[in-house]
């Protein structure tokens, strides 16, 4: 299948999601279920990665600053800006593409192969609205929250490391955090988080929804969806940086 066939079918899937729900209560329940699955279910992995991400960037920055004329508070500024601008939105979303994306693709793929999607269609339910839309909406709501959490934990991870290893006092680290802070960076990071949330939910949903075959194909579509999501995230990251910075 060519790239344009995939793109056309992907756009048609997105268009097909927007229809009147048969029973809004049930759709709301499904949306909340997905928020819990995607959001709360990913807190653990996001927390661990964020703390270590901040810690490593603090240590590596300190290692590279050898000039005694440069204030060490620059360490916290560099940690703050790299975490906010790149690590929290991009790295976390790439990890989530693996965690959440593969789950979405395999869940929908399994439903397709075992005819559960057909069963819903026969009942007169728009499966794109019932199965795909809540997943994308839940990702758009929860992934930016996870990104903000990653920013906070990344900066805290850096603070913990520099204080424990004696590189910098916590007071100096906190002072550095407040110096030359650009609030627009947080706004930019959130724009990226919303964009990536859409990518890591809609692309796996597409690959899972249209899977054909058996368990082997479900695994294959899950892997493909993660690879494609990661590539699209990196591409979108560059476009957004070029446009908004």
């Amino acid at each position: 299948m060519t790239f344009f066939t995939h793109l056309g079918r992907y756009i048609l899937m997105l268009k097909g999601m927007f229809s009147k729900p048969e029973n809004p209560k049930l759709y709301w329940k499904e949306f909340m279920h997905q928020c819990a699955e995607i959001g709360i279910g990913s807190i653990g992995i996001v927390s661990i990665i964020s703390v270590f991400m901040g810690a490593v960037s603090a240590v590596q920055t300190a290692y590279q600053i050898v000039n005694p004329f440069i204030s060490k508070t620059i360490i916290s500024q560099i940690v703050r800006d790299t975490v906010i601008l790149e690590f929290a939105p991009t790295l976390i979303c790439i990890v989530l593409a693996g965690v959440v994306g593969s789950k979405i693709a395999s869940e929908l793929g399994n439903m397709r192969v075992s005819e559960q999607i057909d069963a819903l269609e026969i009942m007169g339910i728009n499966t794109k609205t019932y199965l795909v839309l809540p997943k994308i909406a839940a990702a758009i709501v929860t992934v930016p929250m996870l990104t903000v959490l990653a920013m906070l934990l990344g900066i805290l991870g850096g603070r913990l490391t520099v204080s424990l290893s004696g590189i910098l006092s916590t007071d100096s680290y906190d002072r550095g955090l407040r110096e030359l802070f650009v609030p627009y960076n947080v706004f930019f990071a959130l724009i990226k988080a919303y964009t990536f949330a859409f990518i890591i939910s809609s692309i796996p949903a597409y690959f899972g929804y249209y899977v054909k075959g058996g368990s082997l194909e479900i695994g294959r579509s899950s892997t493909t969806s993660v690879v494609v999501s990661c590539i699209v995230i990196l591409f979108a990251d560059y476009i957004l940086a070029a446009l908004l910075l």
Binding site: N23, E115, D118, A119, E121, I122, M123, N126
Partner: protein
């Protein structure tokens, strides 16, 4: 009544259905029979709208299904129940939730009323006491019965069953056949069953359509099949010596 005229469907170069026309009778068990790959499932999926036929017309109670818009199709589908070959139960839901799902989606009844209806249909398919079990905890025959319960919970006018006794032992197969037949008669449904099980054909075949290589080869009922001289049909139905003997016996009984 469901009528279809000149239905053709192909996948790539392969023509799966070739100009098939037939009428499914109301309140009867209508069987579509044929060897594996003869186009039974594709025909049934065309009838319920999961596949679009390349040409031809499908008519439900005088209204053209092929020309309906999506909203009208959605309305009609609420009158359709379907039992899938693999049962297609929702893995993450209990038996009770599976059966209750169409009620949750399409009715505003109270939970008590819904549960009462769920218990009624579970009782009808002899599955009392399995409400809280998950599909992974029940046998293949029980899954089929849950599938039937879910298909009939909204009192549909049309019931479609795709190979309802595939993978089941002969005794359970007969129970499932009898259950579908009884439900058809009790609720005056138009039931369309895909099968290549000879017991089903001989026991519940009110109206039979035999497909061969995607073409309509023969139509009739379970009595006609005994006296049919269609060579392909006889080779398909009475494939073994044992079944040929059974045919001769049944012919003698019918003539008496």
């Amino acid at each position: 009544m469901i009528e279809f005229k000149n239905i053709s469907k192909s996948f790539g170069d392969k023509l799966v259905l070739n100009d098939v026309s037939h009428a499914m009778q109301s309140g009867k068990a209508n069987l579509i029979i044929g060897t594996s790959g003869s186009g039974k499932t594709v025909l049934q999926k065309c009838l319920v709208g999961l596949f679009e036929p390349d040409q031809g017309e499908i008519i439900y109670d005088g209204i053209s299904f092929t020309q309906m818009n999506d909203d009208d199709r959605k309305m009609l589908r609420q009158q359709i129940g379907m039992l899938f070959q693999g049962s297609a139960l929702f893995d993450s839901m209990t038996v009770e939730d599976n059966v209750k799902f169409p009620l949750d989606m399409f009715t505003n009844d109270s939970q008590t009323t819904k549960l009462k209806r769920v218990n009624e249909v579970l009782e009808r398919v002899n599955l009392v006491g399995s409400n809280k079990k998950f599909p992974s905890e029940i046998s293949g025959g029980m899954k089929k019965r849950v599938g039937i319960a879910r298909a009939i919970v909204l009192n549909p006018k049309f019931l479609f069953c795709d190979e309802p006794n595939s993978g089941l032992d002969p005794q359970t197969s007969m129970l499932i056949d009898q259950l579908i037949y009884d439900i058809t008669k009790d609720f005056n449904m138009t039931t369309i069953i895909n099968t290549h099980d000879m017991n089903s054909v001989m026991e519940i075949g009110d109206n039979i359509l035999y497909l061969k290589d995607g073409k309509k080869e023969w139509t009739g009922n379970k009595k006609d099949i005994i006296f049919s001289e269609n060579e392909n049909l006889n080779q398909f139905i009475f494939a073994s010596e044992f079944l040929q003997g059974a045919k001769r016996l049944r012919m003698m009984e019918e003539k008496r």
